[in-house]
Point group: C2
Chain length 449, copies 2
């Protein structure tokens, strides 16, 4: 009677009250509640109240699993059982300057894994892999699932956008959360992420959980809880899941902007590029090999990854990926073919000192101001604009030294971009205590599950 598991007798208001009061709902009760929502029998306003109650009371593992189950069942799932190599993916919780997937997918594909990556678009201050790929002329991410699976099989990796058919319940819930102030609930974020990743029919999954100013969940305890929640969902379903916590208190690499980031990812695939990007790509590749069972220790896995990157084999793999998905492979060897903004200008340091800060959210929202990011779903973007950083936090700079370059569509954009860059990068006196940065990569210290 009081929200019991049987669908006939479930009274939505009682289920909401029970959650509100901190009860752990039975799996069958959660299931019925969400199935009836899909059927239109539980109203939008009831789900909104339920989600707000979840914001305050959380979800126990069994509740979370029931939710992820219904999300998965609500839609289409990949069938990768025909692939000879273990399917492994990486998911990042989103940051600024994070072009890791572009280099990582072909690298992991080269190393004996199948990488069926379903990626997202940027929103707010964070970028998205699909937007970066759209800087490559001709590259298509709207493939049909069978074509996608064929590409993954042939090339070792593929990258598409989420289709309307994958986890439609997640899409409905996300739209509802967006207007009802319930986006930042850790279990709801975790269920949303995992419902999409688990639809990929994976053997293993590596999570890059960002921490710091530019992360979706900035604080360490929150990010850690998210990481543990994600790993728990994956492991309980038999998907080997590993999370790394990585620094987002500054941007990753030296570029922010879609075409600029593709160019930087290509440098990385040629064995160069900024050290932080290279280190993260190599480590994530190694973890993917471990969860995929291709390697058994991190040292050996890292060595394999280094060889594949430095030999140019990962770059070859990327060229094949671009070609397979309709893109112009000439871009891979000549990044000058990528869209370029017509105007550039440099920001110079007004004094001598030490770079104290480079705030990701300012750069991320600044990219949107330049037209290179979107503030709502459906906005179109200019892939050519963005920022190139010439300094990093902790580095001494001379007066007049170039701190960074703005790439903009016109003079107005340049002015905006220079102001953004000036607010994002702060230079302090050399006598001030050195700025504190998070280590690039940290592991969760306690067992996850």
């Amino acid at each position: 009677l009081l929200g019991s598991g049987s669908p006939e007798r479930l009274i939505p208001a009682r289920v909401i009250e029970r959650k509100r009061n901190g009860a752990v709902l039975e799996a069958q009760e959660m299931r019925s509640f969400f199935l009836r929502y899909l059927e239109g029998d539980v109203q939008e306003q009831q789900m909104a109240a339920f989600l707000m109650a979840v914001y305050f009371q959380g979800l126990a593992p069994e509740e979370l699993d029931a939710l992820v189950d219904v999300m998965l069942e609500s839609g289409e799932r990949l069938d990768l059982s025909g692939l000879p190599r273990p399917a492994v993916d990486k998911h990042s919780t989103g940051g600024v300057g994070d072009k890791v997937s572009l280099a990582l997918a072909p690298l992991a594909g080269e190393l004996g894994l199948s990488v069926p990556m379903i990626a997202g678009r940027g929103l707010g201050h964070t970028g998205g892999t699909l937007d970066k790929l759209s800087a490559i002329p001709g590259f298509r991410t709207d493939l049909e699932v069978p074509d996608f699976v064929r590409i993954v099989n042939r090339v070792g990796c593929g990258i598409i956008g989420q289709t309307a058919k994958i986890a439609p319940l997640d899409r409905r819930l996300y739209a509802l959360r967006d207007v009802t102030g319930t986006v930042s609930s850790i279990p709801l974020i975790a269920a949303s992420i995992m419902s999409k990743k688990l639809a990929e029919d994976l053997v293993g999954l590596v999570l890059d959980v960002k921490v710091g100013e530019g992360a979706f969940i900035a604080d360490e305890p929150g990010a850690t809880e998210l990481a543990r929640t994600l790993v728990g969902i994956g492991e309980r379903r038999g998907v080997r899941t590993k999370a790394l916590m990585t620094a987002m208190d500054r941007p990753l690499g030296r570029t922010v902007g879609n075409a600029l980031e593709v160019s930087e990812a290509l440098e990385c695939l040629r064995g160069g590029g900024p050290p932080d990007l290279r280190e993260l790509v190599l480590r994530l590749a190694a973890e993917m090999l471990l969860v995929g069972g291709v390697e058994t220790n991190v040292k050996g896995a890292l060595e394999s990854a280094v060889r594949a990157l430095d030999s140019g084999r990962a770059l070859d793999r990327f060229r094949r990926l671009v070609e397979a998905q309709g893109g112009d492979p000439a871009v891979v060897d000549d990044p000058g073919l990528l869209p370029r903004a017509p105007r550039t200008a440099e920001l110079r340091s007004q004094g001598a000192g030490v770079v104290r800060e480079c705030t990701p959210t300012r750069l991320g929202y600044g990219l949107t101001e330049l037209g290179g990011g979107r503030s709502r779903l459906g906005d179109s973007i200019d892939v050519s604009v963005g920022f190139v950083l010439h300094v990093e936090v902790g580095q001494p700079v001379a007066r007049g030294e170039s701190l960074g370059t703005v790439h903009a569509a016109n003079d107005a954009g340049l002015a905006v971009g220079l102001e953004v860059l000036g607010r994002a990068i702060s230079v302090g006196g050399a006598d001030e205590p050195p700025p504190r940065l998070r280590p690039l990569i940290t592991e969760l210290t306690e067992p996850y599950v």
Copy 2:
């Protein structure tokens, strides 16, 4: 931008997030949010999430006042400025066997007050004054406001139902809360009650806040918080408001059921009836005289009330009220004319002992099972059925002694009623420690406002 007060710029999701995070919203922000809800601009699902956030975070006095303001402005208000005597009302938070208003309205009317009582119907386990009055043949509570005001002016009191025109925002919010598990939020309950009472254009208001098993908010801290919140809203608007906490760990009086309760109220108006009912009616009348400024000390006020009751003047006033509202005044002198259930049966004690418990909610829901209460708005009811209690908690009983009588429509009803009565009244051994009962009336010990 982030839910600022200006209606043009208010973003509903940001307002919800701010409340969720424990912020105190500005009055103008609350106002805009609710006005835009009335206009259809804030969606039902957004309001549902907001109300759940309020459940967890509460409302500060200024937020509460802003909500009550919009509720009041959304509808019609009485204009009693033409009445020569101070308008004072009483509101009870709802209980089982509570027929106080039937005796209190004419008593207070007799004592120099105007009592423009807008009453409710019963729902769930609690009864409603309108249902009890419907047991009096011909009695109408669906009067037009001008007719109602004329009756209050002429008789000193009048009792009608809430019209669709009074606080329509409250009706919308209540309907939403009912399906979204947000009914039992103290500030939302308080705003709902006060929006209706403040529409009565009162000088003073006395609140009967029930505490104990059969109360809407059963626990003492919750009921105390509700009482303080109600008093705060009234006093900040310049309405003299006083709250008493009264016992609902057992039913009030000896009857539960609409016609049976009218009969008991008539006994009280004749100077008799159960002592607890008489004590509460007298005390509430005295408090009404104090907040109305007609008396200045509780002793004098109580003495006036006793005289009006014992002289039969309050009963005369009730007769005039019945007549004015279209009812059959003969009922007042011959309660035998009230609807009577065709079948009765007595429950007898199976052993000797002491009455340990008489649970209001069992009797209240039991009345609904007999057909005398409603589980949904709009259900029709049988006013004749109910329970008469022959014992009270703490009283010794002999084996075979009658504990109570069931009044039912048929044999099936009798069987149900006897089972309900048997579960509601428990008799324990005389050697067990005496049952603990709340005092009938307690005052709030700290200043209210």
